[in-house]
Protein backbone atom coordinates (compact mmCIF):
# COMPACT_ATOMS: atom_id res chain seq x y z
CA UNK A 1 0.00 0.00 0.00
CA UNK A 2 3.05 2.25 -0.42
CA UNK A 3 1.38 4.21 -3.22
CA UNK A 4 -1.87 4.88 -1.35
CA UNK A 5 -3.06 8.47 -1.98
CA UNK A 6 -6.42 8.66 -0.19
CA UNK A 7 -6.59 12.47 0.08
CA UNK A 8 -5.80 13.35 -3.54
CA UNK A 9 -7.92 10.48 -4.85
CA UNK A 10 -10.92 11.45 -2.72
CA UNK A 11 -10.60 15.10 -3.76
CA UNK A 12 -10.30 14.07 -7.42
CA UNK A 13 -13.44 12.00 -6.93
CA UNK A 14 -15.23 15.02 -5.46
CA UNK A 15 -14.39 17.04 -8.60
CA UNK A 16 -15.69 14.19 -10.79
CA UNK A 17 -18.91 14.13 -8.72
CA UNK A 18 -19.24 17.92 -9.07
CA UNK A 19 -18.75 17.67 -12.83
CA UNK A 20 -21.43 14.98 -13.14
CA UNK A 21 -23.79 17.10 -11.01
CA UNK A 22 -23.12 20.24 -13.09
CA UNK A 23 -23.87 18.37 -16.31
CA UNK A 24 -27.09 16.93 -14.87
CA UNK A 25 -28.29 20.17 -13.28
CA UNK A 26 -27.60 22.38 -16.32
CA UNK A 27 -28.04 20.04 -19.29
CA UNK A 28 -29.94 17.07 -17.86
CA UNK A 29 -27.28 14.67 -19.15
CA UNK A 30 -25.45 11.75 -17.56
CA UNK A 31 -21.65 12.14 -17.38
CA UNK A 32 -20.89 8.73 -18.86
CA UNK A 33 -17.80 9.20 -20.98
CA UNK A 34 -18.26 6.15 -23.23
CA UNK A 35 -21.88 7.16 -23.87
CA UNK A 36 -20.91 10.77 -24.64
CA UNK A 37 -18.15 9.71 -27.04
CA UNK A 38 -20.03 6.75 -28.51
CA UNK A 39 -23.04 8.94 -29.26
CA UNK A 40 -20.87 10.83 -31.75
CA UNK A 41 -20.39 7.71 -33.85
CA UNK A 42 -24.07 7.62 -34.79
CA UNK A 43 -24.97 11.29 -34.58
CA UNK A 44 -28.51 12.32 -33.75
CA UNK A 45 -29.65 15.82 -34.61
CA UNK A 46 -29.48 18.34 -31.72
CA UNK A 47 -27.68 15.76 -29.59
CA UNK A 48 -24.17 16.05 -30.96
CA UNK A 49 -22.59 19.43 -30.28
CA UNK A 50 -22.73 19.20 -26.47
CA UNK A 51 -20.83 15.90 -26.73
CA UNK A 52 -18.10 17.57 -28.81
CA UNK A 53 -17.83 20.36 -26.24
CA UNK A 54 -17.63 17.93 -23.32
CA UNK A 55 -14.83 15.98 -25.04
CA UNK A 56 -13.12 19.28 -25.86
CA UNK A 57 -13.36 20.14 -22.14
CA UNK A 58 -11.72 16.83 -21.24
CA UNK A 59 -8.89 17.55 -23.69
CA UNK A 60 -8.53 21.13 -22.39
CA UNK A 61 -8.34 19.78 -18.85
CA UNK A 62 -5.74 17.27 -20.00
CA UNK A 63 -3.72 20.06 -21.62
CA UNK A 64 -3.83 22.08 -18.37
CA UNK A 65 -2.73 19.02 -16.39
CA UNK A 66 0.17 18.51 -18.77
CA UNK A 67 1.34 22.08 -18.14
CA UNK A 68 0.78 22.11 -14.37
CA UNK A 69 1.66 18.56 -13.33
CA UNK A 70 2.82 16.30 -16.18
CA UNK A 71 3.55 13.48 -13.69
CA UNK A 72 -0.17 12.63 -13.58
CA UNK A 73 0.37 11.10 -17.04
CA UNK A 74 2.99 8.63 -15.84
CA UNK A 75 2.24 5.34 -17.63
CA UNK A 76 4.63 3.09 -15.59
CA UNK A 77 2.94 -0.05 -16.86
CA UNK A 78 4.87 -2.74 -18.73
CA UNK A 79 2.68 -3.44 -21.75
CA UNK A 80 3.49 -3.70 -25.44
CA UNK A 81 1.80 -1.51 -28.04
CA UNK A 82 -0.27 -4.48 -29.20
CA UNK A 83 -1.66 -4.96 -25.69
CA UNK A 84 -2.70 -1.29 -25.50
CA UNK A 85 -4.43 -1.71 -28.87
CA UNK A 86 -6.27 -4.84 -27.72
CA UNK A 87 -7.16 -3.17 -24.40
CA UNK A 88 -8.57 -0.16 -26.25
CA UNK A 89 -10.70 -2.35 -28.52
CA UNK A 90 -12.10 -4.30 -25.57
CA UNK A 91 -12.78 -1.16 -23.52
CA UNK A 92 -14.52 0.61 -26.41
CA UNK A 93 -16.62 -2.35 -27.55
CA UNK A 94 -17.37 -3.55 -24.02
CA UNK A 95 -18.40 -0.12 -22.74
CA UNK A 96 -20.87 0.31 -25.60
CA UNK A 97 -22.24 -3.22 -25.39
CA UNK A 98 -22.64 -2.88 -21.62
CA UNK A 99 -24.16 0.64 -21.96
CA UNK A 100 -21.51 2.34 -19.85
CA UNK A 101 -18.10 2.49 -18.25
CA UNK A 102 -16.47 3.47 -14.97
CA UNK A 103 -18.07 6.93 -15.03
CA UNK A 104 -21.55 6.12 -16.34
CA UNK A 105 -22.06 2.94 -14.30
CA UNK A 106 -19.47 3.30 -11.53
CA UNK A 107 -20.23 6.89 -10.53
CA UNK A 108 -23.50 8.13 -12.07
CA UNK A 109 -25.39 4.83 -12.05
CA UNK A 110 -24.40 3.83 -8.52
CA UNK A 111 -25.28 7.34 -7.31
CA UNK A 112 -28.85 6.82 -8.44
CA UNK A 113 -28.83 3.18 -7.23
CA UNK A 114 -29.46 1.75 -10.69
CA UNK A 115 -29.46 -2.06 -10.40
CA UNK A 116 -27.96 -2.38 -13.90
CA UNK A 117 -25.08 -0.09 -12.97
CA UNK A 118 -24.46 -1.88 -9.67
CA UNK A 119 -24.24 -5.20 -11.51
CA UNK A 120 -22.08 -3.79 -14.33
CA UNK A 121 -19.65 -2.24 -11.84
CA UNK A 122 -19.40 -5.49 -9.90
CA UNK A 123 -18.71 -7.39 -13.14
CA UNK A 124 -16.12 -5.05 -14.64
CA UNK A 125 -14.27 -4.76 -11.33
CA UNK A 126 -14.20 -8.55 -11.00
CA UNK A 127 -13.10 -9.00 -14.63
CA UNK A 128 -10.36 -6.40 -14.09
CA UNK A 129 -9.17 -8.06 -10.88
CA UNK A 130 -9.05 -11.50 -12.54
CA UNK A 131 -7.22 -10.07 -15.57
CA UNK A 132 -4.59 -8.34 -13.41
CA UNK A 133 -4.22 -11.51 -11.34
CA UNK A 134 -3.55 -13.57 -14.47
CA UNK A 135 -1.11 -11.00 -15.91
CA UNK A 136 0.80 -10.71 -12.62
CA UNK A 137 0.80 -14.41 -11.76
CA UNK A 138 1.44 -16.05 -15.11
CA UNK A 139 3.18 -13.29 -17.07
CA UNK A 140 5.24 -11.64 -14.31
CA UNK A 141 3.24 -8.42 -14.56
CA UNK A 142 4.41 -7.63 -18.09
CA UNK A 143 2.65 -8.22 -21.40
Amino acid sequence: MENFTPGASFLGGVLIGLSASLLLLCNGKIAGISGILGGLLRPVRDDTLWRVFFIAGLLAGGAILRLVSPQVFDIALTRSGEVFLLAGLLVGFGARLGSGCTSGHGVCGISRLSPRSLLATLIFMTAGIVTVYIVNTFFGGAL
Binding site: I33, G39, F54, L58, I75, G81, G88, C101, R116
Partner: protein, 168 residues
Protein backbone atom coordinates in the same frame (compact mmCIF):
# COMPACT_ATOMS: atom_id res chain seq x y z
CA UNK B 1 -25.46 27.87 -26.41
CA UNK B 2 -25.43 27.73 -22.60
CA UNK B 3 -25.45 23.93 -22.68
CA UNK B 4 -22.27 23.99 -24.74
CA UNK B 5 -20.47 26.17 -22.21
CA UNK B 6 -21.59 23.97 -19.29
CA UNK B 7 -20.62 20.83 -21.24
CA UNK B 8 -17.14 22.24 -21.81
CA UNK B 9 -16.75 23.28 -18.16
CA UNK B 10 -18.03 19.91 -16.92
CA UNK B 11 -15.54 18.16 -19.22
CA UNK B 12 -12.67 20.28 -17.93
CA UNK B 13 -13.63 19.73 -14.29
CA UNK B 14 -13.96 16.00 -14.94
CA UNK B 15 -10.49 15.85 -16.50
CA UNK B 16 -8.84 17.73 -13.62
CA UNK B 17 -10.60 15.41 -11.17
CA UNK B 18 -9.31 12.37 -13.06
CA UNK B 19 -5.76 13.73 -13.06
CA UNK B 20 -5.81 14.58 -9.36
CA UNK B 21 -7.35 11.23 -8.43
CA UNK B 22 -4.68 9.09 -10.10
CA UNK B 23 -7.02 7.58 -12.71
CA UNK B 24 -4.77 8.81 -15.54
CA UNK B 25 -1.92 6.57 -14.28
CA UNK B 26 -2.49 3.06 -15.65
CA UNK B 27 -0.05 1.54 -13.15
CA UNK B 28 -2.15 2.98 -10.32
CA UNK B 29 -5.35 1.58 -11.83
CA UNK B 30 -3.75 -1.84 -12.18
CA UNK B 31 -2.49 -1.47 -8.59
CA UNK B 32 -6.10 -1.00 -7.50
CA UNK B 33 -7.17 -4.13 -9.38
CA UNK B 34 -4.22 -6.07 -7.93
CA UNK B 35 -6.31 -7.19 -4.98
CA UNK B 36 -4.24 -10.26 -4.16
CA UNK B 37 -0.87 -8.53 -4.65
CA UNK B 38 0.34 -5.05 -3.79
CA UNK B 39 -3.12 -3.54 -3.53
CA UNK B 40 -3.43 0.25 -3.79
CA UNK B 41 -6.96 1.13 -2.56
CA UNK B 42 -6.73 4.76 -3.79
CA UNK B 43 -9.27 4.33 -6.57
CA UNK B 44 -11.89 3.22 -4.07
CA UNK B 45 -11.49 6.73 -2.60
CA UNK B 46 -12.16 8.21 -6.07
CA UNK B 47 -15.48 6.40 -6.30
CA UNK B 48 -16.28 7.26 -2.71
CA UNK B 49 -15.59 10.96 -3.26
CA UNK B 50 -17.55 11.09 -6.51
CA UNK B 51 -20.57 9.23 -5.12
CA UNK B 52 -20.50 11.23 -1.86
CA UNK B 53 -21.09 14.34 -3.97
CA UNK B 54 -23.21 13.02 -6.80
CA UNK B 55 -25.66 10.77 -4.92
CA UNK B 56 -27.15 13.58 -2.78
CA UNK B 57 -26.81 16.07 -5.66
CA UNK B 58 -28.73 13.68 -7.92
CA UNK B 59 -31.63 13.55 -5.46
CA UNK B 60 -31.74 17.33 -5.10
CA UNK B 61 -31.48 17.94 -8.85
CA UNK B 62 -34.25 15.45 -9.65
CA UNK B 63 -36.67 17.52 -7.55
CA UNK B 64 -36.61 20.01 -10.42
CA UNK B 65 -39.04 19.47 -13.27
CA UNK B 66 -36.29 20.17 -15.79
CA UNK B 67 -32.59 21.02 -15.99
CA UNK B 68 -31.60 24.70 -16.13
CA UNK B 69 -30.67 24.93 -19.83
CA UNK B 70 -32.55 21.99 -21.37
CA UNK B 71 -36.17 20.88 -21.78
CA UNK B 72 -35.88 17.54 -19.98
CA UNK B 73 -33.60 15.13 -18.14
CA UNK B 74 -32.13 12.29 -20.21
CA UNK B 75 -31.69 9.54 -17.63
CA UNK B 76 -31.59 5.78 -18.29
CA UNK B 77 -34.73 4.05 -17.08
CA UNK B 78 -33.96 0.38 -17.74
CA UNK B 79 -33.78 -1.85 -14.68
CA UNK B 80 -33.55 -5.30 -16.31
CA UNK B 81 -30.42 -7.43 -16.59
CA UNK B 82 -29.45 -8.85 -19.96
CA UNK B 83 -26.53 -10.65 -21.57
CA UNK B 84 -25.31 -7.46 -23.26
CA UNK B 85 -24.88 -5.72 -19.91
CA UNK B 86 -23.06 -8.69 -18.39
CA UNK B 87 -20.90 -9.50 -21.44
CA UNK B 88 -20.14 -5.85 -22.16
CA UNK B 89 -19.06 -5.16 -18.59
CA UNK B 90 -16.89 -8.32 -18.60
CA UNK B 91 -15.11 -7.34 -21.84
CA UNK B 92 -14.71 -3.81 -20.54
CA UNK B 93 -13.18 -5.10 -17.30
CA UNK B 94 -10.69 -7.31 -19.16
CA UNK B 95 -9.58 -4.37 -21.31
CA UNK B 96 -9.38 -2.14 -18.24
CA UNK B 97 -7.16 -4.66 -16.44
CA UNK B 98 -4.97 -5.15 -19.52
CA UNK B 99 -4.31 -1.49 -20.31
CA UNK B 100 -5.12 0.33 -17.07
CA UNK B 101 -7.18 2.88 -19.00
CA UNK B 102 -10.91 3.50 -19.09
CA UNK B 103 -12.49 5.99 -21.53
CA UNK B 104 -12.39 9.23 -19.49
CA UNK B 105 -8.76 9.02 -18.37
CA UNK B 106 -7.68 7.84 -21.83
CA UNK B 107 -9.20 10.90 -23.57
CA UNK B 108 -7.86 13.20 -20.83
CA UNK B 109 -4.39 11.72 -21.37
CA UNK B 110 -4.34 12.41 -25.13
CA UNK B 111 -2.58 15.81 -24.71
CA UNK B 112 0.28 13.98 -22.94
CA UNK B 113 1.22 12.50 -26.31
CA UNK B 114 2.31 9.20 -24.74
CA UNK B 115 2.48 6.36 -27.28
CA UNK B 116 0.35 4.08 -25.08
CA UNK B 117 -2.51 6.62 -25.18
CA UNK B 118 -2.07 7.33 -28.89
CA UNK B 119 -2.57 3.59 -29.48
CA UNK B 120 -5.30 3.03 -26.89
CA UNK B 121 -7.69 5.85 -27.82
CA UNK B 122 -8.03 5.13 -31.58
CA UNK B 123 -8.45 1.42 -30.76
CA UNK B 124 -11.15 2.34 -28.21
CA UNK B 125 -12.99 4.47 -30.77
CA UNK B 126 -12.68 1.59 -33.26
CA UNK B 127 -14.17 -0.77 -30.67
CA UNK B 128 -17.06 1.64 -30.13
CA UNK B 129 -17.55 1.97 -33.87
CA UNK B 130 -17.51 -1.81 -34.26
CA UNK B 131 -20.34 -1.97 -31.74
CA UNK B 132 -22.29 0.68 -33.61
CA UNK B 133 -21.91 -1.40 -36.80
CA UNK B 134 -22.96 -4.67 -35.12
CA UNK B 135 -25.91 -2.95 -33.48
CA UNK B 136 -26.94 -1.46 -36.84
CA UNK B 137 -26.85 -4.93 -38.44
CA UNK B 138 -28.96 -6.42 -35.65
CA UNK B 139 -31.46 -3.58 -35.86
CA UNK B 140 -31.82 -4.08 -39.61
CA UNK B 141 -32.21 -7.87 -39.24
CA UNK B 142 -34.73 -7.73 -36.39
CA UNK B 143 -36.66 -4.86 -37.92
CA UNK B 144 -36.41 -2.73 -34.80
CA UNK B 145 -36.69 0.86 -35.87
CA UNK B 146 -34.00 3.41 -35.19
CA UNK B 147 -34.63 5.79 -32.29
CA UNK B 148 -34.53 8.72 -34.70
CA UNK B 149 -37.46 7.21 -36.59
CA UNK B 150 -39.32 6.55 -33.35
CA UNK B 151 -39.04 10.12 -32.17
CA UNK B 152 -40.59 11.31 -35.43
CA UNK B 153 -43.52 8.88 -35.22
CA UNK B 154 -45.19 9.21 -31.82
CA UNK B 155 -47.63 6.35 -32.52
CA UNK B 156 -44.88 3.68 -32.38
CA UNK B 157 -44.28 2.05 -28.98
CA UNK B 158 -40.84 2.57 -27.41
CA UNK B 159 -38.47 -0.03 -28.85
CA UNK B 160 -35.52 -1.69 -27.17
CA UNK B 161 -33.37 0.28 -29.57
CA UNK B 162 -34.74 3.50 -28.13
CA UNK B 163 -33.99 2.47 -24.59
CA UNK B 164 -30.62 1.20 -25.64
CA UNK B 165 -29.74 4.60 -26.95
CA UNK B 166 -29.75 6.09 -23.44
CA UNK B 167 -26.50 4.89 -21.99
CA UNK B 168 -25.70 4.89 -18.31
Amino acid sequence: MSTLVTSFLAGMLFAVGLGLSGMTQPAKVVGFLDLTGRWDPSLACVMLGAIAVHAPAYRLIRRRSAPIFAAAFAIPTRRDFDLRLVGGAALFGIGWGLGGFCPGPAITSLPSGHTAVLLFVPAMVAGMYLHTLVEGLQVRRSGIVHPETVSRSPTLPPSPALQYRHDA
